[in-house]
Amino acid sequence: MTRFRENLYKWIFTVLAFASLVFLVGIILTLLKEALPLFAEIKFFDFLLGSQWYPTYEPPDFGILPLILASVLVTFGAMVVAVPIGVGSALYIHELASQTQRAFLKPIIEILAGIPSIVFGFFGMLIVAPFLQKLLGIPTGLNAFTASLVLGIMATPTICSISEDALSFVPRSFREASLALGANRWQTLVRVVVPAAGSGISTAIILGIGRAVGETMTVLMVAGGAAVIPKSIFDPVRPMTSTIAAEMGEAVMGSPHYSALFAIALILFLITLVINIIAEIISRRYRLKLGLGR
Protein backbone atom coordinates (compact mmCIF):
# COMPACT_ATOMS: atom_id res chain seq x y z
CA MET A 1 0.00 0.00 0.00
CA THR A 2 2.74 2.46 0.97
CA ARG A 3 4.59 1.36 -2.11
CA PHE A 4 1.57 2.19 -4.25
CA ARG A 5 1.19 5.61 -2.66
CA GLU A 6 4.81 6.42 -3.13
CA ASN A 7 4.56 5.56 -6.81
CA LEU A 8 1.38 7.56 -7.10
CA TYR A 9 3.03 10.66 -5.65
CA LYS A 10 5.99 10.16 -7.89
CA TRP A 11 3.77 10.07 -10.94
CA ILE A 12 1.67 13.04 -9.91
CA PHE A 13 4.71 15.21 -9.46
CA THR A 14 6.37 13.96 -12.62
CA VAL A 15 3.28 14.90 -14.61
CA LEU A 16 3.14 18.32 -12.96
CA ALA A 17 6.81 18.92 -13.61
CA PHE A 18 6.49 18.12 -17.27
CA ALA A 19 3.23 20.01 -17.75
CA SER A 20 5.01 23.26 -18.57
CA LEU A 21 7.06 21.49 -21.18
CA VAL A 22 3.89 20.12 -22.76
CA PHE A 23 2.35 23.59 -22.82
CA LEU A 24 5.46 25.07 -24.37
CA VAL A 25 5.64 22.47 -27.12
CA GLY A 26 1.89 22.78 -27.67
CA ILE A 27 2.11 26.53 -28.08
CA ILE A 28 5.00 26.29 -30.50
CA LEU A 29 3.22 23.67 -32.59
CA THR A 30 -0.01 25.71 -32.67
CA LEU A 31 1.85 28.84 -33.69
CA LEU A 32 3.66 26.97 -36.45
CA LYS A 33 0.53 25.23 -37.68
CA GLU A 34 -1.45 28.46 -37.91
CA ALA A 35 1.38 30.62 -39.19
CA LEU A 36 2.91 28.41 -41.86
CA PRO A 37 0.07 28.61 -44.46
CA LEU A 38 0.93 32.30 -44.84
CA PHE A 39 4.26 31.45 -46.38
CA ALA A 40 2.54 29.64 -49.20
CA GLU A 41 1.23 33.07 -50.18
CA ILE A 42 4.19 35.32 -49.46
CA LYS A 43 7.92 34.86 -48.98
CA PHE A 44 9.27 34.89 -45.45
CA PHE A 45 11.56 37.85 -46.06
CA ASP A 46 8.84 39.86 -47.78
CA PHE A 47 6.83 39.30 -44.63
CA LEU A 48 9.65 40.18 -42.26
CA LEU A 49 11.06 43.15 -44.18
CA GLY A 50 8.06 44.44 -46.13
CA SER A 51 7.22 48.02 -45.22
CA GLN A 52 3.49 47.89 -45.90
CA TRP A 53 0.96 46.41 -43.52
CA TYR A 54 -2.48 46.52 -45.18
CA PRO A 55 -3.96 43.16 -44.25
CA THR A 56 -7.51 44.00 -45.34
CA TYR A 57 -6.75 45.55 -48.72
CA GLU A 58 -7.29 43.71 -51.98
CA PRO A 59 -4.68 42.40 -52.56
CA PRO A 60 -3.42 42.60 -48.98
CA ASP A 61 0.08 43.61 -47.90
CA PHE A 62 1.69 41.66 -45.08
CA GLY A 63 4.94 43.51 -44.42
CA ILE A 64 5.64 43.64 -40.68
CA LEU A 65 8.72 45.85 -40.70
CA PRO A 66 6.72 48.85 -39.39
CA LEU A 67 5.43 46.69 -36.55
CA ILE A 68 8.88 45.36 -35.68
CA LEU A 69 10.38 48.85 -35.79
CA ALA A 70 7.54 50.12 -33.62
CA SER A 71 8.25 47.41 -31.04
CA VAL A 72 11.98 48.15 -31.14
CA LEU A 73 11.47 51.90 -30.85
CA VAL A 74 9.01 51.67 -27.99
CA THR A 75 11.13 49.10 -26.14
CA PHE A 76 14.27 51.15 -26.57
CA GLY A 77 12.45 54.25 -25.37
CA ALA A 78 11.11 52.33 -22.39
CA MET A 79 14.65 51.26 -21.46
CA VAL A 80 15.89 54.84 -21.65
CA VAL A 81 13.33 55.55 -18.95
CA ALA A 82 13.50 52.33 -16.95
CA VAL A 83 17.23 51.57 -16.78
CA PRO A 84 18.33 54.76 -15.02
CA ILE A 85 15.35 54.77 -12.67
CA GLY A 86 15.46 51.02 -12.01
CA VAL A 87 19.20 50.66 -11.49
CA GLY A 88 19.43 54.01 -9.72
CA SER A 89 16.75 53.12 -7.23
CA ALA A 90 18.33 49.69 -6.69
CA LEU A 91 21.63 51.39 -5.85
CA TYR A 92 19.86 53.80 -3.53
CA ILE A 93 17.97 51.07 -1.72
CA HIS A 94 21.07 48.95 -1.42
CA GLU A 95 23.61 51.55 -0.46
CA LEU A 96 22.05 54.71 0.94
CA ALA A 97 18.60 53.89 2.25
CA SER A 98 18.17 53.55 5.99
CA GLN A 99 16.56 50.44 7.45
CA THR A 100 13.15 52.12 7.56
CA GLN A 101 13.41 53.49 4.02
CA ARG A 102 14.42 50.08 2.73
CA ALA A 103 11.53 48.47 4.58
CA PHE A 104 8.95 50.44 2.61
CA LEU A 105 10.74 51.34 -0.65
CA LYS A 106 11.23 47.83 -1.96
CA PRO A 107 7.66 46.65 -1.30
CA ILE A 108 6.32 49.82 -2.89
CA ILE A 109 8.36 49.24 -6.02
CA GLU A 110 7.18 45.65 -6.11
CA ILE A 111 3.56 46.74 -5.79
CA LEU A 112 4.14 48.89 -8.87
CA ALA A 113 5.00 45.64 -10.68
CA GLY A 114 1.66 44.18 -9.65
CA ILE A 115 -0.54 46.91 -11.13
CA PRO A 116 -2.52 45.46 -14.07
CA SER A 117 -1.29 46.74 -17.42
CA ILE A 118 -4.72 48.03 -18.34
CA VAL A 119 -4.48 50.45 -15.44
CA PHE A 120 -1.21 51.73 -16.83
CA GLY A 121 -2.84 51.99 -20.24
CA PHE A 122 -5.70 53.95 -18.78
CA PHE A 123 -3.34 56.24 -16.95
CA GLY A 124 -1.29 56.75 -20.13
CA MET A 125 -4.33 57.43 -22.26
CA LEU A 126 -6.21 59.78 -19.97
CA ILE A 127 -3.41 61.61 -18.20
CA VAL A 128 0.00 61.26 -19.84
CA ALA A 129 -1.10 61.55 -23.47
CA PRO A 130 -3.24 64.71 -23.18
CA PHE A 131 -0.63 66.28 -20.96
CA LEU A 132 2.20 65.64 -23.43
CA GLN A 133 0.06 66.71 -26.34
CA LYS A 134 -0.52 70.09 -24.72
CA LEU A 135 2.98 70.43 -23.37
CA LEU A 136 4.76 69.65 -26.64
CA GLY A 137 2.12 70.95 -29.03
CA ILE A 138 1.99 67.70 -31.04
CA PRO A 139 -0.98 66.45 -33.11
CA THR A 140 -1.61 63.43 -30.88
CA GLY A 141 -0.46 62.36 -27.46
CA LEU A 142 -0.94 58.73 -28.37
CA ASN A 143 2.45 57.96 -29.84
CA ALA A 144 5.71 56.06 -29.41
CA PHE A 145 7.00 58.57 -26.88
CA THR A 146 4.04 58.21 -24.55
CA ALA A 147 4.12 54.44 -24.96
CA SER A 148 7.85 54.43 -24.09
CA LEU A 149 7.25 56.51 -21.02
CA VAL A 150 4.42 54.36 -19.67
CA LEU A 151 6.17 51.09 -20.58
CA GLY A 152 9.32 52.41 -18.95
CA ILE A 153 7.45 53.00 -15.71
CA MET A 154 6.05 49.49 -15.97
CA ALA A 155 9.46 47.90 -16.53
CA THR A 156 11.15 49.84 -13.73
CA PRO A 157 10.12 47.54 -10.87
CA THR A 158 11.41 44.45 -12.69
CA ILE A 159 14.78 46.08 -13.24
CA CYS A 160 14.97 47.59 -9.77
CA SER A 161 13.97 44.49 -7.92
CA ILE A 162 16.29 42.10 -9.76
CA SER A 163 19.20 44.57 -9.68
CA GLU A 164 18.77 45.01 -5.97
CA ASP A 165 18.83 41.24 -5.49
CA ALA A 166 22.02 41.10 -7.54
CA LEU A 167 23.61 43.80 -5.40
CA SER A 168 22.66 42.07 -2.20
CA PHE A 169 24.14 38.77 -3.43
CA VAL A 170 27.57 40.40 -3.60
CA PRO A 171 29.37 38.89 -0.62
CA ARG A 172 29.94 41.28 2.25
CA SER A 173 33.57 40.18 2.28
CA PHE A 174 34.19 42.04 -1.00
CA ARG A 175 32.99 45.27 0.53
CA GLU A 176 35.03 44.70 3.66
CA ALA A 177 38.17 43.96 1.63
CA SER A 178 37.73 47.16 -0.32
CA LEU A 179 37.02 49.33 2.72
CA ALA A 180 39.93 47.79 4.61
CA LEU A 181 42.25 48.90 1.80
CA GLY A 182 41.21 52.48 2.35
CA ALA A 183 38.51 52.79 -0.28
CA ASN A 184 35.58 54.99 0.56
CA ARG A 185 31.98 53.86 0.20
CA TRP A 186 31.59 55.34 -3.25
CA GLN A 187 34.76 53.74 -4.62
CA THR A 188 33.71 50.43 -3.12
CA LEU A 189 30.33 50.67 -4.77
CA VAL A 190 31.61 51.69 -8.21
CA ARG A 191 34.71 49.53 -8.40
CA VAL A 192 33.76 46.40 -6.48
CA VAL A 193 30.07 45.99 -5.73
CA VAL A 194 28.58 47.09 -9.05
CA PRO A 195 31.07 45.15 -11.22
CA ALA A 196 30.50 42.06 -9.10
CA ALA A 197 26.75 42.49 -9.54
CA GLY A 198 27.22 43.55 -13.18
CA SER A 199 25.86 40.47 -14.84
CA GLY A 200 22.96 40.36 -12.41
CA ILE A 201 22.13 43.92 -13.34
CA SER A 202 22.42 43.03 -17.05
CA THR A 203 20.01 40.16 -16.50
CA ALA A 204 17.62 42.59 -14.83
CA ILE A 205 17.78 44.92 -17.82
CA ILE A 206 17.27 42.09 -20.30
CA LEU A 207 14.25 40.83 -18.41
CA GLY A 208 12.97 44.42 -18.36
CA ILE A 209 13.36 44.47 -22.15
CA GLY A 210 11.45 41.20 -22.34
CA ARG A 211 8.64 42.72 -20.30
CA ALA A 212 8.47 45.78 -22.55
CA VAL A 213 8.59 43.81 -25.82
CA GLY A 214 5.77 41.53 -24.77
CA GLU A 215 3.52 44.13 -23.18
CA THR A 216 0.25 44.40 -25.10
CA MET A 217 -2.56 46.24 -23.41
CA THR A 218 -0.67 49.40 -22.60
CA VAL A 219 0.79 49.86 -26.05
CA LEU A 220 -2.57 49.05 -27.62
CA MET A 221 -4.05 51.91 -25.63
CA VAL A 222 -1.35 54.55 -25.86
CA ALA A 223 0.93 53.91 -28.86
CA GLY A 224 -1.48 55.38 -31.40
CA GLY A 225 -1.89 52.36 -33.65
CA ALA A 226 -0.52 53.55 -37.01
CA ALA A 227 1.16 50.71 -38.89
CA VAL A 228 3.63 53.00 -40.60
CA ILE A 229 7.39 53.12 -40.27
CA PRO A 230 7.89 55.84 -37.64
CA LYS A 231 9.96 58.89 -38.62
CA SER A 232 10.11 60.33 -35.13
CA ILE A 233 9.45 59.21 -31.59
CA PHE A 234 6.36 61.43 -31.59
CA ASP A 235 4.70 59.43 -34.38
CA PRO A 236 1.88 57.06 -33.53
CA VAL A 237 3.06 53.48 -33.92
CA ARG A 238 1.64 49.97 -33.85
CA PRO A 239 3.92 47.45 -32.15
CA MET A 240 3.62 43.72 -32.87
CA THR A 241 1.66 42.86 -29.75
CA SER A 242 -1.01 45.48 -30.20
CA THR A 243 -1.40 44.52 -33.86
CA ILE A 244 -2.32 41.00 -32.85
CA ALA A 245 -4.65 42.16 -30.10
CA ALA A 246 -6.39 44.73 -32.29
CA GLU A 247 -6.85 42.58 -35.39
CA MET A 248 -7.40 39.05 -34.14
CA GLY A 249 -11.08 39.71 -33.59
CA GLU A 250 -11.74 40.80 -37.16
CA ALA A 251 -9.49 38.39 -39.06
CA VAL A 252 -11.37 35.55 -40.71
CA MET A 253 -10.24 32.20 -39.31
CA GLY A 254 -7.90 30.45 -41.70
CA SER A 255 -7.48 33.51 -43.91
CA PRO A 256 -4.00 34.83 -44.79
CA HIS A 257 -4.58 37.71 -42.40
CA TYR A 258 -5.28 35.21 -39.61
CA SER A 259 -2.09 33.30 -40.47
CA ALA A 260 -0.12 36.52 -40.62
CA LEU A 261 -1.13 37.40 -37.06
CA PHE A 262 0.04 33.98 -35.93
CA ALA A 263 3.27 34.54 -37.79
CA ILE A 264 3.74 37.81 -35.90
CA ALA A 265 3.15 35.92 -32.67
CA LEU A 266 5.76 33.39 -33.74
CA ILE A 267 8.34 36.12 -34.38
CA LEU A 268 7.48 37.72 -31.05
CA PHE A 269 7.87 34.37 -29.33
CA LEU A 270 11.29 33.88 -30.92
CA ILE A 271 12.39 37.35 -29.82
CA THR A 272 11.41 36.80 -26.20
CA LEU A 273 12.92 33.31 -26.29
CA VAL A 274 16.26 34.73 -27.39
CA ILE A 275 16.03 37.43 -24.73
CA ASN A 276 15.38 34.86 -22.02
CA ILE A 277 18.21 32.64 -23.18
CA ILE A 278 20.64 35.54 -23.12
CA ALA A 279 19.49 36.46 -19.61
CA GLU A 280 19.97 32.88 -18.45
CA ILE A 281 23.47 32.64 -19.93
CA ILE A 282 24.54 35.89 -18.32
CA SER A 283 23.17 35.04 -14.91
CA ARG A 284 24.78 31.60 -14.98
CA ARG A 285 28.14 33.12 -15.86
CA TYR A 286 27.63 35.58 -13.03
CA ARG A 287 27.07 32.91 -10.44
CA LEU A 288 30.20 31.13 -11.64
CA LYS A 289 32.14 34.36 -11.45
CA LEU A 290 31.18 34.91 -7.83
CA GLY A 291 31.98 31.28 -7.07
CA LEU A 292 28.38 30.56 -6.11
CA GLY A 293 28.25 27.41 -8.21
CA ARG A 294 25.22 26.72 -10.35
Binding site: P171, S173, A180, L181, G182, R191, K289
Partner: protein, 253 residues
Protein backbone atom coordinates in the same frame (compact mmCIF):
# COMPACT_ATOMS: atom_id res chain seq x y z
CA UNK B 1 66.01 45.36 22.73
CA UNK B 2 63.99 48.53 23.00
CA UNK B 3 60.29 48.03 22.71
CA UNK B 4 58.36 50.74 21.02
CA UNK B 5 54.63 50.90 21.62
CA UNK B 6 52.77 51.05 18.31
CA UNK B 7 49.21 50.65 19.50
CA UNK B 8 48.03 51.68 22.92
CA UNK B 9 44.61 50.71 24.20
CA UNK B 10 43.36 52.36 27.39
CA UNK B 11 40.08 51.44 29.07
CA UNK B 12 38.42 50.43 25.84
CA UNK B 13 34.75 49.60 26.26
CA UNK B 14 32.80 48.47 23.25
CA UNK B 15 29.08 47.93 22.80
CA UNK B 16 26.92 46.34 20.12
CA UNK B 17 23.70 48.15 20.93
CA UNK B 18 23.20 47.41 24.63
CA UNK B 19 25.49 44.39 24.73
CA UNK B 20 28.94 45.12 26.02
CA UNK B 21 31.50 43.17 23.98
CA UNK B 22 34.72 44.60 25.41
CA UNK B 23 35.36 45.68 28.98
CA UNK B 24 38.16 48.06 29.93
CA UNK B 25 40.79 46.67 27.61
CA UNK B 26 44.28 47.94 28.44
CA UNK B 27 46.86 46.60 26.06
CA UNK B 28 50.10 47.75 24.45
CA UNK B 29 51.11 46.31 21.11
CA UNK B 30 54.76 46.68 20.22
CA UNK B 31 56.33 47.64 16.89
CA UNK B 32 57.74 44.83 14.76
CA UNK B 33 56.35 42.17 17.02
CA UNK B 34 53.66 39.61 16.42
CA UNK B 35 50.95 39.89 19.03
CA UNK B 36 48.45 37.07 19.18
CA UNK B 37 44.96 37.41 20.60
CA UNK B 38 43.57 34.12 21.83
CA UNK B 39 40.48 33.06 23.69
CA UNK B 40 37.27 31.10 23.22
CA UNK B 41 34.64 32.16 20.67
CA UNK B 42 32.83 35.32 21.61
CA UNK B 43 35.62 36.60 23.85
CA UNK B 44 35.92 39.81 21.83
CA UNK B 45 39.25 39.22 20.10
CA UNK B 46 37.89 39.84 16.60
CA UNK B 47 35.90 42.80 17.85
CA UNK B 48 39.10 44.23 19.27
CA UNK B 49 41.19 44.01 16.12
CA UNK B 50 38.35 45.41 14.07
CA UNK B 51 38.58 48.50 16.24
CA UNK B 52 42.15 49.04 15.12
CA UNK B 53 41.17 49.86 11.52
CA UNK B 54 37.71 51.02 12.50
CA UNK B 55 35.93 48.28 10.59
CA UNK B 56 33.34 48.34 13.36
CA UNK B 57 32.21 51.69 11.98
CA UNK B 58 30.19 49.62 9.49
CA UNK B 59 27.96 48.37 12.29
CA UNK B 60 25.27 50.94 12.93
CA UNK B 61 24.71 50.14 16.59
CA UNK B 62 28.40 49.97 17.55
CA UNK B 63 29.78 52.32 20.20
CA UNK B 64 33.28 52.60 21.58
CA UNK B 65 34.62 54.38 24.67
CA UNK B 66 38.14 54.82 25.95
CA UNK B 67 41.41 55.69 24.24
CA UNK B 68 42.90 53.86 21.33
CA UNK B 69 46.11 55.34 19.98
CA UNK B 70 48.41 54.45 17.13
CA UNK B 71 51.78 56.20 17.37
CA UNK B 72 50.28 58.29 20.13
CA UNK B 73 47.41 59.62 18.00
CA UNK B 74 43.83 58.89 19.00
CA UNK B 75 42.18 56.97 16.15
CA UNK B 76 38.58 57.33 17.29
CA UNK B 77 38.88 61.09 17.12
CA UNK B 78 36.23 62.50 14.75
CA UNK B 79 39.04 64.26 12.89
CA UNK B 80 40.84 61.03 12.10
CA UNK B 81 40.99 60.30 8.39
CA UNK B 82 39.56 56.76 8.29
CA UNK B 83 40.77 56.18 4.75
CA UNK B 84 44.33 57.04 5.74
CA UNK B 85 44.02 54.93 8.89
CA UNK B 86 42.91 51.90 6.89
CA UNK B 87 45.74 52.37 4.47
CA UNK B 88 48.18 52.32 7.39
CA UNK B 89 46.46 49.43 9.13
CA UNK B 90 45.91 46.60 6.67
CA UNK B 91 43.66 43.64 7.34
CA UNK B 92 43.58 40.02 6.26
CA UNK B 93 40.25 38.32 6.85
CA UNK B 94 39.15 34.93 8.07
CA UNK B 95 37.99 33.76 4.68
CA UNK B 96 40.16 34.69 1.69
CA UNK B 97 38.29 37.48 -0.06
CA UNK B 98 39.98 38.39 -3.32
CA UNK B 99 37.82 40.50 -5.63
CA UNK B 100 36.36 38.69 -8.64
CA UNK B 101 38.95 40.45 -10.77
CA UNK B 102 42.36 39.49 -12.14
CA UNK B 103 45.29 38.86 -9.81
CA UNK B 104 46.90 42.04 -11.08
CA UNK B 105 43.77 44.14 -10.56
CA UNK B 106 43.41 42.81 -7.03
CA UNK B 107 46.90 43.98 -6.19
CA UNK B 108 46.62 47.30 -7.98
CA UNK B 109 43.27 48.09 -6.37
CA UNK B 110 44.58 49.73 -3.21
CA UNK B 111 46.91 51.92 -5.24
CA UNK B 112 44.34 52.89 -7.84
CA UNK B 113 41.78 53.98 -5.27
CA UNK B 114 44.46 56.08 -3.63
CA UNK B 115 44.80 57.98 -6.89
CA UNK B 116 48.04 56.45 -8.17
CA UNK B 117 48.03 56.37 -11.96
CA UNK B 118 51.69 55.70 -12.82
CA UNK B 119 51.55 52.25 -14.45
CA UNK B 120 55.26 51.51 -14.03
CA UNK B 121 55.01 52.25 -10.35
CA UNK B 122 51.93 50.06 -9.95
CA UNK B 123 53.61 47.19 -11.79
CA UNK B 124 56.63 47.48 -9.55
CA UNK B 125 54.48 47.46 -6.41
CA UNK B 126 52.45 44.51 -7.65
CA UNK B 127 55.64 42.53 -8.19
CA UNK B 128 57.18 43.54 -4.89
CA UNK B 129 54.12 42.64 -2.89
CA UNK B 130 53.81 39.29 -4.64
CA UNK B 131 57.43 38.55 -3.87
CA UNK B 132 57.00 39.53 -0.24
CA UNK B 133 54.01 37.26 0.09
CA UNK B 134 55.88 34.37 -1.55
CA UNK B 135 53.36 34.10 -4.34
CA UNK B 136 55.28 35.60 -7.24
CA UNK B 137 56.70 32.37 -8.68
CA UNK B 138 53.33 30.67 -8.58
CA UNK B 139 51.41 33.36 -10.41
CA UNK B 140 53.89 35.39 -12.45
CA UNK B 141 52.71 33.87 -15.74
CA UNK B 142 49.03 34.40 -15.07
CA UNK B 143 48.70 37.80 -13.48
CA UNK B 144 45.67 38.51 -15.64
CA UNK B 145 43.73 35.39 -14.69
CA UNK B 146 40.78 35.70 -12.34
CA UNK B 147 41.97 35.57 -8.74
CA UNK B 148 39.16 33.20 -7.82
CA UNK B 149 40.90 30.50 -9.88
CA UNK B 150 43.65 30.29 -7.25
CA UNK B 151 43.57 27.74 -4.43
CA UNK B 152 42.38 28.86 -0.99
CA UNK B 153 45.91 29.19 0.36
CA UNK B 154 47.05 31.14 -2.69
CA UNK B 155 44.01 33.37 -2.40
CA UNK B 156 44.89 34.13 1.19
CA UNK B 157 48.48 34.99 0.26
CA UNK B 158 47.07 37.16 -2.52
CA UNK B 159 45.00 38.98 0.09
CA UNK B 160 48.16 39.48 2.13
CA UNK B 161 49.94 40.78 -0.96
CA UNK B 162 47.02 43.09 -1.72
CA UNK B 163 47.35 44.49 1.74
CA UNK B 164 51.15 44.90 1.42
CA UNK B 165 50.79 46.77 -1.87
CA UNK B 166 49.52 49.87 -0.08
CA UNK B 167 52.49 49.73 2.31
CA UNK B 168 50.76 49.55 5.66
CA UNK B 169 52.56 49.84 8.99
CA UNK B 170 50.36 47.39 10.85
CA UNK B 171 48.75 44.23 9.53
CA UNK B 172 45.78 42.69 11.28
CA UNK B 173 45.13 39.01 10.71
CA UNK B 174 41.66 37.84 11.70
CA UNK B 175 42.00 34.06 11.94
CA UNK B 176 43.79 33.97 8.60
CA UNK B 177 44.12 30.18 8.48
CA UNK B 178 40.64 29.26 9.66
CA UNK B 179 39.65 27.94 6.24
CA UNK B 180 43.03 26.58 5.09
CA UNK B 181 44.69 23.19 5.00
CA UNK B 182 47.80 22.51 7.13
CA UNK B 183 50.30 23.08 4.31
CA UNK B 184 48.78 26.42 3.32
CA UNK B 185 48.59 27.30 7.00
CA UNK B 186 52.31 26.66 7.40
CA UNK B 187 53.10 28.90 4.45
CA UNK B 188 51.05 31.72 5.95
CA UNK B 189 52.77 31.28 9.31
CA UNK B 190 56.21 31.41 7.70
CA UNK B 191 55.11 34.53 5.90
CA UNK B 192 53.98 36.17 9.13
CA UNK B 193 57.39 35.52 10.70
CA UNK B 194 59.01 37.08 7.65
CA UNK B 195 56.69 40.08 7.62
CA UNK B 196 57.25 41.08 11.24
CA UNK B 197 60.66 42.43 10.28
CA UNK B 198 58.91 45.28 8.53
CA UNK B 199 55.45 45.41 10.00
CA UNK B 200 53.68 45.33 13.31
CA UNK B 201 51.40 42.32 13.34
CA UNK B 202 48.32 41.49 15.34
CA UNK B 203 46.80 38.07 14.80
CA UNK B 204 43.57 36.65 16.14
CA UNK B 205 43.64 32.89 16.27
CA UNK B 206 41.62 30.01 17.57
CA UNK B 207 44.59 27.79 17.28
CA UNK B 208 46.81 27.93 20.37
CA UNK B 209 49.68 26.13 18.69
CA UNK B 210 49.60 28.75 16.00
CA UNK B 211 49.83 31.52 18.57
CA UNK B 212 52.77 29.70 20.16
CA UNK B 213 54.53 29.29 16.81
CA UNK B 214 54.21 32.75 15.37
CA UNK B 215 53.75 35.27 18.13
CA UNK B 216 56.11 37.15 20.42
CA UNK B 217 53.37 38.36 22.72
CA UNK B 218 50.07 36.77 23.55
CA UNK B 219 46.93 38.29 24.99
CA UNK B 220 44.35 35.95 26.43
CA UNK B 221 40.81 37.25 26.40
CA UNK B 222 37.70 35.88 28.00
CA UNK B 223 34.12 37.21 27.66
CA UNK B 224 35.15 40.71 26.71
CA UNK B 225 37.98 41.03 29.21
CA UNK B 226 41.71 40.90 28.80
CA UNK B 227 42.75 38.25 31.30
CA UNK B 228 46.46 38.15 30.74
CA UNK B 229 49.05 39.66 28.44
CA UNK B 230 52.71 38.70 28.37
CA UNK B 231 55.53 37.26 26.32
CA UNK B 232 54.21 34.24 24.48
CA UNK B 233 56.74 31.93 26.15
CA UNK B 234 55.61 33.04 29.57
CA UNK B 235 51.92 32.72 28.78
CA UNK B 236 52.39 29.23 27.52
CA UNK B 237 54.79 28.03 30.21
CA UNK B 238 54.08 29.95 33.39
CA UNK B 239 50.71 31.72 33.06
CA UNK B 240 49.89 33.90 36.04
CA UNK B 241 46.16 33.49 35.87
CA UNK B 242 44.34 30.29 36.61
CA UNK B 243 41.85 30.96 33.78
CA UNK B 244 44.67 31.22 31.25
CA UNK B 245 46.16 27.97 32.41
CA UNK B 246 42.82 26.20 32.21
CA UNK B 247 42.19 27.48 28.70
CA UNK B 248 45.65 26.54 27.48
CA UNK B 249 45.39 23.08 28.95
CA UNK B 250 42.09 22.57 27.19
CA UNK B 251 39.79 22.58 30.21
CA UNK B 252 37.37 24.82 28.28
CA UNK B 253 37.20 26.75 25.03
Amino acid sequence: MDLEVKIRSRNIDFYYGKTQALKKINLDIYSNMVTALIGPSGCGKSTFIRLLNRMNDLIASARVEGNLMIDGVEINDPKTDVVDLRRRVGMVFQKPNPFPKSIYENLAYGLVINGIKDKKFIEMRVRESLEKSALYDEVKDRLHDNALMLSGGQQQRLCIARCLAVEPEIILFDEPCASLDPISTRKIEELILELKKEYTIVIVTHNMQQAARVSDYTAFMYIGELIEFDLTEKIFTVPKEKLTEEYLSGKFG
